[in-house]
């Protein structure tokens, strides 16, 4: 243990006192004053906590903070180091089972307690997950690899590229029958969309999965989601990038979504992911996969078939949410900072206020592509309907159709990685590349109860 680690999180007079007494974390100590007596294991403290408390674990397992008092007598009576780690499980290879590669990127699905912040941090190795979810053994041979240990809000287009290359490597060089990517849910749809654009002619499924309740909780959805995602990767014939997460608040089934159409719609519920404007591709309950949308890219029969990686991205794209009172300097700032593309989430059919028209014009004349999307999430841009919209079309704003603002952002980054020609960009943005955009919305595409009411699945299968 380094000196820093010995008294992790302690500072000020407490640290000094502990140092003097040569006490380190995990020591079992007794703190006494004339009134009180506290006995327990000295725990590491978190950076954000108040400095004037000792943090103890009592014998009954409870944690308490004991306020610093100068006249406290402290003695060491033992040592017990806590190591929160599941044993890693070795699994025997079975050639009859499909080979799945599980890539770890961090996030709640692979998270545990962090003493520095007191929050949950990604730290499980995927191998530990096999101990936690022994069912995985039955489904396939799993090979795991940690690509990142990140909170998903720290993802970047550069990291999408690294991940895309890794997926291509697993498919092309290791010939796996499917790839599962454990990812934080916050930006899972972004990453999924990026992968779907990068990975052309996929021969096998690539499934994004995460969890909304960390796996250090008995009620975690991570085991169920993993079982579902791995089943989809190993057994389904949908050779696309997919996102597989809990379909309802019950621990029962998962929905299989297209990443470009799916959105995290609740900050904390398990069934947070909803396909917008359409229905999920299908659902999975344990190993039973039900398909709703039959038009998808099928798994290749040729085991050697390679995926084509097209991983060029241009990260200089901004995403702006329009609001009443918005000022032109928001756009001007992007022009001044040499952005190459802007996605706007406009009001209604895709509108922005009058005072943004000039800066938008200026941006476009600076060869910056502007793509309009809708804040309503459901529905299409309709720039030809009102005068304002026609004006926007006239100055060269690209209608994003039913692209979700986030998907438009990812797509524009990818398109700009290939061309800066505005008319080419216009064409590519409106073209369906990986199922992220469509030209007709079915009546029940506006199904905001997806997964919430038990009878919804009947509707989904019948559409």
């Amino acid at each position: 243990m380094s000196n820093e680690d010995k008294l992790k999180g302690y500072s000020g007079p407490i640290k000094k006192k502990l140092e003097q007494l040569n006490i380190k974390i995990w020591d079992r100590i007794k703190i006494t004053s004339d009134k009180d007596k506290f006995e327990g294991i000295l725990l590491p403290r978190t950076e954000f906590d108040k400095p004037n408390f000792y943090y103890l674990k009592l014998d009954n397992g409870y944690n308490i903070g004991v306020e610093y008092q100068e006249d406290h007598k402290i003695e060491v009576i033992g040592y017990h180091e806590g190591k929160y780690q599941l044993p890693e499980k070795k699994v025997i290879y079975n050639e009859k089972k499909p080979n799945i590669s599980l890539l770890g990127t961090g996030g709640t699905i692979a998270s545990r307690l962090d003493y520095r912040t007191g929050a949950v941090l990604p730290a499980f190795t995927p191998a530990e997950l096999f101990t936690a979810v022994p069912e995985l053994e039955e489904i396939c041979n799993l090979d795991t690899k940690i690509v990142f240990e990140l909170l998903s809000e720290d993802m970047t287009p550069e990291k999408w590229q690294i991940l895309g290359r890794e997926v291509a490597h697993q498919i092309n060089d290791n010939n796996v029958d499917g790839v599962v990517i454990a990812h934080g849910t916050d930006t899972m749809a972004f990453t999924g969309t990026a992968l779907s654009l990068m990975l052309k002619d996929l021969p096998v499924p690539v499934v994004m999965v995460g969890s909304q309740r960390s796996s250090d909780r008995p009620s975690s959805d991570s085991a169920m989601n993993l079982i579902h995602a791995i089943n989809v990767a190993a057994k389904s014939d949908i050779a696309e990038v997919l996102l597989c997460m809990a379909g309802s608040s019950n621990h029962k089934f998962g929905y299989i979504h297209r990443p470009g159409l799916v959105r995290k719609m609740h900050s904390s519920r398990r069934d947070t992911f909803k396909t917008i404007g359409s229905r999920p591709i299908g659902m999975v309950e344990k190993d039973k996969i039900t398909i709703f949308e039959t038009n998808y890219n099928k798994r290749s029969k040729n085991k050697r078939k390679k995926v084509k990686l097209d991983d060029k991205f241009d990260p200089r794209v901004g995403l702006i949410y329009h609001y009443p009172g918005i000022q032109p300097d928001i756009i001007e700032n992007l022009i001044d900072n040499d952005y190459h593309g802007i996605v706007i989430a406009g009001t209604g059919l895709g509108h922005i206020s009058k005072n943004l028209i000039e800066p938008c014009k200026k941006a476009i004349s600076n060869n910056i592509a502007i793509v309009m999307t809708v804040q309503t999430l459901w529905g299409f841009t309709g720039l030809q309907v009102y005068e304002r919209g026609r004006e926007l079309l006239n100055i060269g704003i690209i209608p994003g159709h039913n692209l979700l603002p986030e998907s438009a952002y990812v797509k524009l980054s990818w398109v700009l990685g290939h061309t800066r020609d505005l008319s080419e960009i216009n064409k590519l943005m409106r073209e369906n590349i990986a199922g992220e955009i469509f030209d007709r919305e079915i009546y029940k595409g506006f199904l905001i109860f997806q997964g919430v009411e038990p009878w919804i699945n009947d509707i989904l299968t019948k559409i």
């Binding site: 943090y55 190591k83 008995p218």
Partner: protein
């Protein structure tokens, strides 16, 4: 006379009290802390998995719980459960009132206050909390309470969330259904040190702690708001927690029976030691015995085999005679093992060699085949059972682990109290290993200002209140205690301070009348303090007589929004004057001449009845009786 010499046995007992607090909201969300009898608005199903504790170890009891393989279902209600209870939203800020109550109770119990509170997760896999853990925080340690001149240590005081209510268990499908309304209601958990040495002391401590909680006015009243568990051990035994102690009167019987159980388990241990048994002796194979029973006459087994079930058995080396050892009257050791299996795997019943096997219609050939297959020698016992393969095997693993535990005597367990004052296994005793810091909530710091404010308004101790009321109102101790326990004391004092009414009458009304009405199905929950106050106001102003209390209260309960005047009118209760009473009495005497002629003074009772029919509640019954008495004697005298 006690059955046991508790001192000699080294009896140590502690009490664990759980009591719901009186707050406006639940502990970590802003739902109302109410229970409902409505139909659920939604149903959810969940599964749970064991997780590591903070120190990176599994809690053994949790793993046993997981083996039960329960499916959990929840009933949710839009009026008292939100997305927090169903574990779909992180906790909101902790209810401040609950923290204040916690500090108050810590001060009353002379505890060391924890200045920085950390919310912990106490993991449970029984499904009683949808997130898989109860959020709990320790507020004080090392306190004491003095009862009958003896100090009892208070080990810890915690504030925590109440769990969901279990409503049903479908044994066949292993589906357990919980109702979510109670989940999250703030509770205080008070755990004493094992300082209690006799069941009588236990009852005293439990009673007085309960009294203290009620008299503080900080806790809820009513059925199910207080629950107490017994922790008990004897020398060479082990701590056993007994849950579900519904009445204080159960305590002695439960403790006495637990002592007997522990003593006999210790005897079994000693006998096993004498037979030189070691843990490793029980690492025996679980063997498929199904083939032996192809033509069995044991019908139950026969039909099980038809349903593709299997028979598995093990050898219990050198255990002959111990499986039928009685650990409680009519309860053999084998039965205790069977109970545990039933709870963990759901399989009912084991068959062992210490039983009369003929009662199952097993043939000698079958028995010797079992013996041969399991390699049973003279001193050995065997155990077998049948069921679906995985369950049967798992059940025998439970048997093996229970036999190993027998070598140590008494296993640490949580057990449920039954009506006959014996107990049955619920789960292994949970330890500190299942605790985990709650990463969703920051620590809460208690500052000295908050403490000193609470200190200056500390509620009085109940024993002091009793002394005060006793001298002030000349009421007996039992009645005052009952007023405290039913949380009616405050109302009682209010009536006494404002109106001129007999204290006994108020106490009787609050304690007995309303209770009796409740028994009769009258909705007494509608009766408010204001109702009671207006009733006694009318009584002290002699608008009504005390005989009318019942009728008035009944109408108040049934029509809580009706004014007292209207109620009196509808009861036709305008009090009558003494003159008109005289008139009524004279009329009744006049109309019953024959009766009086036949019965003489004995006619008093029927006459009184008839008069009361028309005057009840309108005038004091004592007046009626004395007036009737004098008029009747005069009439009899005059008509001799």
């Amino acid at each position: 006379m006690s059955k046991w010499n508790y001192e000699k046995l080294g009896l140590k007992a502690g009490i664990e009290i759980h009591q719901e607090l009186r707050t406006n909201s639940k502990l970590f969300c802003r739902c109302s802390p109410i229970l409902t009898t409505e139909k659920p608005d939604f149903i959810l199903q969940r599964n749970f998995r064991p997780v590591l504790g903070e120190m990176g170890e599994f809690d053994k009891a949790m793993l046993v719980e997981y083996q039960k393989g329960l499916k959990i279902q929840y009933e949710g209600f839009d009026n008292c459960t939100c997305s927090y209870e169903i574990d779909e939203t992180p906790p909101f800020e902790i209810d401040k009132r609950s923290i204040e109550i916690g500090i108050t109770l810590c001060l009353l119990l002379n505890m060391s206050l924890i200045k920085e509170l950390h919310v912990c997760r106490k993991n449970y896999l029984d499904g009683s909390v949808p997130c898989g853990f109860q959020r709990t925080l320790i507020m004080g340690i090392n306190g004491h309470i003095e009862i009958n001149n003896k100090k009892y240590g208070i080990n810890t005081l915690c504030i925590e969330e109440d769990a969901a209510r279990k409503v049903s268990y479908n044994e066949k499908n292993k589906i357990i259904t919980y109702r979510l309304d109670r989940l999250g209601i703030p509770l205080v958990e008070i755990v004493t040190d094992p300082d209690i040495k006799t069941p009588e002391e236990f009852k005293e401590v439990a009673f007085n702690l309960g009294l203290l909680l009620r008299s503080s006015g900080l806790v809820k009243r009513g059925l199910g708001t207080i629950r107490q568990d017994i922790n008990v051990s004897i020398e060479n035994g082990a701590r056993v927690e007994i849950k579900g102690v519904q009445k204080l009167d159960w305590i002695k019987g439960l403790i006495d029976n637990e002592i007997e159980r522990q003593l006999n388990l210790i005897k079994i241990k000693m006998e096993m030691e004498k037979r030189d048994l070691k843990e490793s002796d029980f690492d025996t194979d679980i063997i498929d015995l199904s083939n032996i029973f192809k033509n069995t006459k044991f019908n139950y087994l026969k039909s099980a085999l038809k349903k593709n079930m299997k028979v598995f058995g093990i050898k219990a080396p050198k255990m002959q005679g111990l499986l039928c050892f009685e650990i409680l009257p009519k309860k053999r050791f084998g039965k205790e093992i069977a109970e545990k299996i039933k709870i963990i795997t759901g399989l009912k019943g084991i068959i062992h060699s210490d039983e009369d096997l003929n009662k199952y219609n097993l043939t000698d050939t079958e028995i010797s085949a079992i013996k041969e297959k399991l390699n049973i020698l003279d001193n050995d016992a065997f155990i077998f059972l049948f069921g679906p393969e995985d369950k049967a095997k798992k059940s025998l693993e439970v048997v093996i682990s229970r036999l190993k535990m027998a070598l140590k005597g008494v296993p640490q367990e949580t057990r449920r109290a039954k009506e006959d004052l014996t107990t049955e296994f619920i789960r292994e005793l949970h330890g500190g290993k299942r605790l985990y810091p709650d990463t969703d909530t920051p620590p809460i710091i208690i500052n000295d200002k908050m403490i000193s404010e609470i200190k200056s308004n500390l509620p009085e101790y109940p024993w002091k209140i009793i002394d005060k009321i006793k001298s002030k109102f000349k009421l007996d101790e039992k009645t005052i205690t009952d007023l405290i326990l039913t949380q009616n004391l405050h109302l009682f004092e209010k009536v006494m301070n404002n109106y001129n009414v007999e204290p006994k009458l108020i106490a009787k009304t609050l304690l007995e009348t309303i209770k009796a009405m409740h028994r009769d199905g009258i909705p007494v929950q509608n009766i408010t303090d204001d109702h009671i106050l207006s009733l006694f106001k009318a009584l002290s102003e002699q608008k009504i007589a005390k005989e009318a209390i019942n009728d008035v209260l009944k109408l108040m309960a049934q029509n809580p929004n009706k004014s007292l005047d209207k109620i009196l009118k509808s009861l036709n209760l305008k009090s009558i004057s003494e003159e008109s009473l005289e008139e009524i009495i004279e009329n009744v005497i006049e109309n019953n001449k024959n009766l009086i002629k036949n019965k003489g003074e004995m006619a008093f009772k029927p006459l009184m009845g008839e008069i009361m029919k028309s005057v009840r509640g309108k005038i004091d019954g004592k007046k009626v009786s004395s007036l009737l008495k004098s008029k009747l004697s005069r009439y009899i005298m005059n008509n001799k």
